[in-house]
Amino acid sequence: MSDARLPVERLSIILGEVRDVGVSQRGPRRTRLDVAADALPALLELLKGRAGYVHLSAISCVDWPVDGQFELVYHLWSYELNALVSVHTRIARDPGVYVSVYDIYHPAGFFERDIHEMYGVFFEGAPDMEKFILTEWDGPPPMRKEFDSEAWVNEHFDWQDYRPDWLLELEAQGGGIVTPPDEQRFSRRGITESDDES
């Protein structure tokens, strides 16, 4: 087992071996690294093998349609140093292909499979790219920003049409429903503002 020196010291040695890594300290046990997509697997190998970051906590995917990119974040934890390193990289949204790090970190199998079905990113070399959660879904990858899940729900399902007595009485008096729930939802703000002119 490697000896436990301060994270920054340790990292700086490793990072010298990979070109163009942006480092920023985000807290006492949080470091952010930014690296180019083609350099990331090598960086992960170094971090695991020589810096002691043996635990892959998660791989997160963030969709940045404005930039035309997906951001992949690899959260690595070291049990010796008690520190978390988040390695950020960007890949092009189209074609949305990247390389699997399953050989380096076993947990990647689950996360890459999840990102594949949710975002449509294909990880070459991943052991299993079959759907896990969305086995009966044949629409677009739903976590992508352009997929409006609320609109899909509104299209495919109806609101319950309640006719309780008190409502019928109010309607007879000239009252009744004035503002249905969907009209005032903050969740719709910024999505269909142009359609929502009242």
């Binding site: 635990h55 997160s60 049990y79 959660i133 086995t135 903050f186």
Partner: protein
Amino acid sequence: MRAENYEARNHPPSHEFEINFGPNHPGIEGNYALKVRVHGDQVVAARADGGYLHRGFEKLMEQRLWIQNIALVPRICVPDPAPMEVAYSMAVEQLCGLDVPERAQWLRVLQLELSRLAAHLFTFGGHAATTGMYSPMFWGVADRDLLLDLFEELTGGRVYSIYNIPGGVRRDIPEGFLDRISATLDYLDSRLPDYDNLLFTNRVFVTRAKDTGPITQAQALEWGVTGPNLRATGLAFDVRRDDPYLVYDQLEFDIPTEQAGDAWARTLVRRGELQQSVRILRQVVERLPSVEGPIRAPIPNPLAWKVPVGEAYVRIESSKGELGWYVVSDGGEKPYRVHIRGPSSMHAVQVLEHLVTGARIEDVAQIMFSLDACPPEVDR
């Protein structure tokens, strides 16, 4: 799953056939399917199939204001909802730079540990039930009910407490609440010998659990196992100790470990954690009256609240393992991205498939329960 979507795996005629464990099965915690191919009573291959509890929280949370999400997050893990609430609030606090008052932190620890107790009681019961012993399950659920009574008194909700809000907690403790907690803890302490008699010293249970679903230390680290499952292989890693949050650094507690890494070791670790949670709670009960101050930091009008640009990764030790929350804000009124890494994401899928392969069919459910794999967390 609809019948037309079911696909049997094609294989040459043999003594092997495929069974679908779940999605509705008393031996499965929640709704989850495990397709196992058995040769006689030996499992030769297994494939996990989730999605039955997929509610799309990660997408839903992107469409709601920061404040509205506090009502969604407890539902992500049903038996142990508190860590989800705390993780979300902590992430937002980190993004906003909010300082949570000390009293609120103690109250959060109170909620987390009570939730851990409730989850472990549930798990013992479940694990026992998978070995055919139903009495501990009734006991576990009944004793857990007392903890739910405490939650009801503190938060207004029994299971989904919706107690946390970014900045702190929503209500302070009611009159006499600490005494009632102490009384419940005394009761649980007095019950532990009963559980030992019925379950933990029971030869039948021990024989069933020992050497079932063994994980070595090396495998645990390689597979990303965390929580009691990892501690059962001998590694004393606990997020509360290694990556401290709230006021855990002011609390005294041990980290129970075992060496064997099998279902029995995992159960023993949980039993030890139950005792440690009681110990933590007693410290909280003693300390809380002397911690003064507000129970939350002020936040802007929730209908006009923009969280600054940034990202935060929060790690919490839930009863099942390492819970990770990655929250990204683009400076807007709603989260830009929320990624939830439940501990069961590892345990219920890859680890489960590895362990079940080669096990006997009667142990499949036991392995899943001993891993405390929680499908709502996997599916979100």
